[in-house]
Amino acid sequence: MPKLTFFNLGNADCTRIDLANDDQLLFDYAAMRDANDPSDKRCDLAAELRRDLRARGRQWYRVVGFTHLDRDHICGSSEFFYLEHAQKYQEGPRIKINELWVPAAAITEEGCEEEDRIIRAEARYRLKKGKGIRVFSRPEALKDWLEAEGISFDERKHLITDAGQLVPAFTTLIDGVEFFVHSPFAARQNECELVDRNGNCLVLHATFVVGQQRTKVFLGADAKYESLVEIVNITRFHQREDRLEWDVMKIPHHSSYLSIGPEKGKDKTKPVPETAYLYEDMGLDRAIMISTSCPIPSNDESNQPPHRQAAKYYQDCSATRSGKYRVTMEHPRESRPEPLVVEIDGTKARIVEAFTGGITSVVSRPAHRAGANG
């Protein structure tokens, strides 16, 4: 059965999708754990992923998508993945990427100086080669970049998918899932002189089919409310409201209030009409909201997400439809978080709440043997 795994990485993202046909997709890779800090409760992402791959007897993912190039979405990726553009990223036991998914900004962005530069170089290399990549949206800047490289846009357009389209090569019939692209939009990027990474990040809507049941997952990346307003308005304009419905939502930007509305609010963030439509009206019965974030604070000491006011809004959204709001660094408990797993089957989605630790050792006692004293 299909499975989603949201890794406990603090305010950072890595979501693995295991398909029923055994293929795997990885969205973002942010190995944030400090190995020198024994109190760091974030998981060892590389170890978690390698353990799973070893069990499957493989060293590759069908797709690795980077929703954008911020550090909390790519940290450590140049050490974990086999990158084709330079030999120095090919040494050791690295994991291969069959197809790299990036927003167009990951190709066109200037000024990258750290690990973002390495991922950009990999994306550019693959696009120049014309293989092993899918680019999302076609802003003028992408056409200009291809032209500067001496490559005809027409020769590469089969590698580009725009907002409003389904990602080619994934079908519910063969893969049990299809991906609808909500963002980025070319028009938004054409209007901006500087790249707004969160505004141009890769936002997808996945529909899983198991038996006759369709389970919808909204992968919100780090979209801010302005982007979500555009997503909602454009999708409704095209009468594709079913692409806004969700059974599972990866909440955008680690429960930041800016993914709901412009003001944090005193106790609860107030949505703009479009985000209210998305979060309140489009969530289906018992919908699951997942905040890939640090624990929800009880005060406003930090301006960084998660914001308690945003969390309150999401919690209330969940409660009205008997749903669940879960935080990766609180699951199953804040003192000992673990990767959060959602399984999808004929009853739609459910959070795996398995627990075995402690029970046997605490309460199970050897049975008294017949004939033994006492």
Partner: protein, 154 residues
């Protein structure tokens, strides 16, 4: 609110549940070993998906009432809630299974229920094997048995 408590938010007031009978007792007053172990284990907060509610004395039996977070899909075969309140009833003789009752007054009539003189509270059938065999390795992990009530086969 602790993380575990946030997961297990009872959806009803206490008065909306059925009573398993008997009188409340301190969880430290259990005399039956298995009841004591269960109450102590859950009160210790070791299980993220179970929350202690109360202990009771029912004639010669002892009762532990819990709220359990149930791993249930969004379209379950039966209307099982994310959180269910159950009572585990232990007999001092330990000659039969601890009886597990759902204290929800509208708990659905699923396939695997034990017959009782009254329809409610419903008695959950969690085990297939004889108790003499089961008790050699019995643990307090009722929840893992209870979650099957959301599956299509139950």
């Amino acid at each position: 609110m602790s993380s575990a408590a946030r997961h297990i938010a009872p959806e009803r007031m206490a008065s909306e549940f059925l009573s398993p009978g008997g009188e409340p007792i301190s969880p430290d007053a259990h005399r039956i070993e298995k009841a004591h172990d269960l109450a102590e284990f859950v009160r210790g907060g070791l299980h993220p998906w179970a929350q202690f509610v109360e202990s009771r004395l029912l004639n010669e039996q002892e009762v532990v009432v819990l709220d359990l977070s149930i791993e249930v899909g969004q379209m379950p075969a039966h209307p099982i809630l994310d959180t269910e309140r159950i009572a585990a009833i232990f007999d001092a003789t330990d000659e039969t299974y601890p009886e597990v009752l759902s204290l929800r007054p509208d708990f659905p009539r699923v396939l695997h229920l034990n017959a009782r003189p009254t329809e409610f509270p419903r008695s959950l059938c969690l085990y297939e094997e004889p108790y003499d065999e089961l008790k050699l390795r019995w643990t307090v992990n009722f929840r893992e048995g209870c979650v099957t009530y959301g599956s299509p086969s139950c």
